[in-house]
């Protein structure tokens, strides 16, 4: 990463978020669930940070923290060097202009009772622009994302999924944000529509010098947009590095599986993950992946692996990555029992 004097757009330092799950169980007692633990990364201005990982691994939690929809349990989150959880109301308002978001579900993201022009200009209005002026900017915003100007007067249900996602992007762009949080923005879309939206996102980034936090399941898609990639497993970052390197030569056994599966042309059944998913309410000791890791041994059950440099700029949290990379580690199968 470049050693710019200016602070990076985003810097997360030891970010942790635990949820208490109370009422989900009528008769149980509240138990903490760690959704994100000790997550640290930086996103330079104008770049994309891709976040991948299994369902429920805490990707959206990181996104929500960045959007200030949740407050962290520990750790700091700096945007342009400023801690976003220590802001005055005025600073917060300014911050709200700087950061916008697009979510996964194109059906749920738009108020079904609002017209397109009001949807895309709502952030402007929230930041004090008067209605006439704001709505005058609607056609321009719609054009920006490739929607015809006559769509201004339509309601969300009159748009297709891909078009809705465009609307959501137009709205996010309306206040000239510097940072866009994209939480699986294309997962719900058809292959062909997905391609449309992705090209649009890339084009916008280049045109407006945007910084992206991009969350996705599809590694090819992540790779298409991202400069840096973080891999999460059960709340922790297990691998972090330049997108190409991580996705071509993964260091962590979990990432290896992901990449192998995503390759897609491997014959059916060639790559199989064994073992059990860890229970978030009673996480295993040591390395969280050991219950499914083919290389697990006693060390893994005893100690939590630290993030270590695998290569320059490429961090991995695995006790055995050198041995595995060298092909020197034999597959022992997952460790299901406690050490």
């Amino acid at each position: 990463m470049s050693a710019d004097a200016a602070p990076p757009m985003v810097e997360a330092i030891g970010l942790t978020k635990t949820f208490a799950i109370p009422a989900a169980t009528l008769f149980g007692r509240a138990r903490p669930v760690a959704a994100a633990v000790d997550v640290s990364f930086r996103i330079p201005r104008g770049r994309t940070f891709g976040l991948v990982g299994e369902s429920g691994s805490g990707k959206s939690t990181v996104a929500k923290l960045l959007l200030k929809l949740e407050a962290p349990s520990a750790g700091r989150l700096l945007v342009e060097g400023q801690d976003i959880f220590a802001q005055t109301p005025a600073e917060e308002l300014a911050y709200r202009r700087k950061v916008q978001a697009v979510f996964q579900d194109p059906y749920g993201a738009l108020s079904p009772r609002m017209r397109a022009d009001r949807i895309v200009t709502e952030p402007l209005r929230a930041h004090g622009m008067d209605r006439r002026e704001a709505e005058a900017r609607a056609p321009e915003l719609l054009r920006l994302v490739g929607l015809p100007p006559d769509s201004a007067r339509k309601y969300p249900h009159e748009f297709s999924g891909g078009q809705r996602q465009r609307l959501a992007i137009a709205r996010a762009l309306s206040v000239d944000p510097a940072l866009l949080v994209l939480d699986e923005p294309v997962s719900a879309l058809d292959v062909s529509v997905r391609a449309q939206v992705l090209t649009l996102l890339r084009e916008m980034q280049q045109r407006l010098d945007l910084t992206y936090l991009f969350i996705g399941h599809d590694l090819a898609v992540v790779r298409y947009l991202s400069d840096t990639v973080g891999v999460m497993y059960f709340g922790r970052l297990v691998e972090l590095g330049p997108a190409r390197r991580v996705l071509r030569r993964p260091a962590h056994p979990y990432t290896r599986r992901l990449v192998a599966l995503a390759a897609g042309d491997a014959p059916l059944g060639a790559v199989r993950l064994q073992g059990e998913l860890p229970n978030p309410l009673a996480p295993p000791s040591g390395c969280l992946f050991r219950t499914r890791c083919p290389y697990a041994d006693a060390t893994c059950a005893a100690r939590l692996p630290e993030m270590r440099l695998a290569e320059p700029d490429h961090l991995v949290a695995c006790h055995h990555h050198e041995a595995v990379a060298a092909g020197a580690k034999a597959e022992t199968g997952p460790m299901l029992q406690e050490a």
Partner: protein, 326 residues
């Protein structure tokens, strides 16, 4: 490739929704055959009628649907079968896995209860010999700790586990035909693979024919013998999987395959299909894809393309298919 008497033969199937004055033809003039033990993949744009087609075969369409045509299963015409007999076929000879695994199990009963219920029904149908116990069914779908699972409720299982339970139920009696509607969409890549492997095993062990509907083209490529591509309610291309993926003949199939992310010189390349899906209630007179087709000629907009055979069991509905790939 299995030959002989087809297991399933769909002839001129039409399914309409909405007001008769302004019908939505979710499936139009579909012709399709399936041999015993064959695996068929169906892909296509969202809303192109894939689910509707499957539901028509299972006769589980909502009452508002108007169905015409013929669906023959092992020589029986299904559409005119009394509901009683149809119910007897379901589950035993014809089974289906629905689109959404998260909600396809009754949340109020244990897995064991629901599985037993299915098994009881199968035994009554006379399939007793090959059934085995509930535990065995779960073991067959590679579920860990099956005894425990039987005592658990659906919400205590992950999506992948539920999906496997459903597949186990649907395949308990080794049906002759299994229809799986997007069985893997909601799943992790790793679990996705598990399910596909299961289908393969089922065909191998019991000779079950499988129809799999999915957006995931790589799943189709790896699993199925034959593939059907649908667009706007119509089958636009059908052929052996290898051949269609190698040399797609319909411009939509070509565009669909091209829109998958591709890696060229270390860069990921995307090629979206321009334009929008047409409104099913207001289809143009000619080819529905014409408006987005780079190879469209005036004829495409005026007249609906006829079927054209371009290889062994490979047919395509495109005026320009004969001229070689566009």
């Amino acid at each position: 490739m299995p030959h002989g008497e087809p297991l399933l033969a769909i002839r001129g199937l039409n399914v309409e929704f909405g007001l008769p004055a302004r019908p939505v033809r979710a499936v139009a003039d579909a012709d399709l055959t399936l041999a015993p033990g064959e695996i068929l993949g169906i892909a296509g744009e969202s809303g192109s009628g894939k689910t509707t087609l499957c539901a028509a075969v299972m006769r589980t369409l909502p009452r508002t649907a108007r169905v015409s045509g013929r669906v023959e299963f092992a020589g029986k015409e299904l559409l005119s079968l009394p509901e009683r007999e149809m119910a007897r076929l379901r589950g035993r000879d014809l089974a289906m896995v629905l689109q959404n695994p998260m909600t396809s199990l009754d949340p109020l009963y244990t897995i064991g209860n629901q599985l037993e219920e299915v098994l009881r029904e199968r035994r009554r149908g006379g399939g007793a010999g090959r059934l085995g116990s509930a535990v065995e069914v779960l073991r067959r779908v590679h579920l860990t700790a099956p005894e425990l699972r039987l005592r658990q409720y659906p919400h205590q299982l992950s999506g992948g586990m539920r999906q496997r339970v459903l597949v186990g139920m649907a395949t308990a009696a080794a049906p002759r035909l299994l229809i799986a509607d997007e069985p893997t969409t909601a799943l992790d890549a790793s679990i996705q693979d598990e399910i596909l492997i299961l289908f393969r095993e089922l065909r191998e062990s019991a000779g079950t024919a499988v129809v799999i509907v999915t957006h995931d083209l790589s799943a189709i490529r790896r699993l199925s013998d034959r593939v059907v591509i649908m667009y706007a309610g119509r089958i636009v291309e059908e052929g052996p999987t290898v051949e269609v993926f190698r040399a797609p003949r319909h411009p939509y199939t070509q565009a669909l395959l091209a829109s998958l992310p591709r890696i060229e010189e270390e860069e990921v390349v995307l090629q979206p299909i321009p334009g929008q899906v047409p409104d099913l209630a207001r289809l143009p007179p000619g080819c529905a894809f014409a408006a987005r087709c780079p190879a469209a000629i005036p004829l495409c907009r005026e007249e609906r393309p006829r079927e054209r055979t371009v290889g062994e069991r490979h047919r395509v509905f495109c005026w320009r298919a004969g001229e070689g790939a566009a």
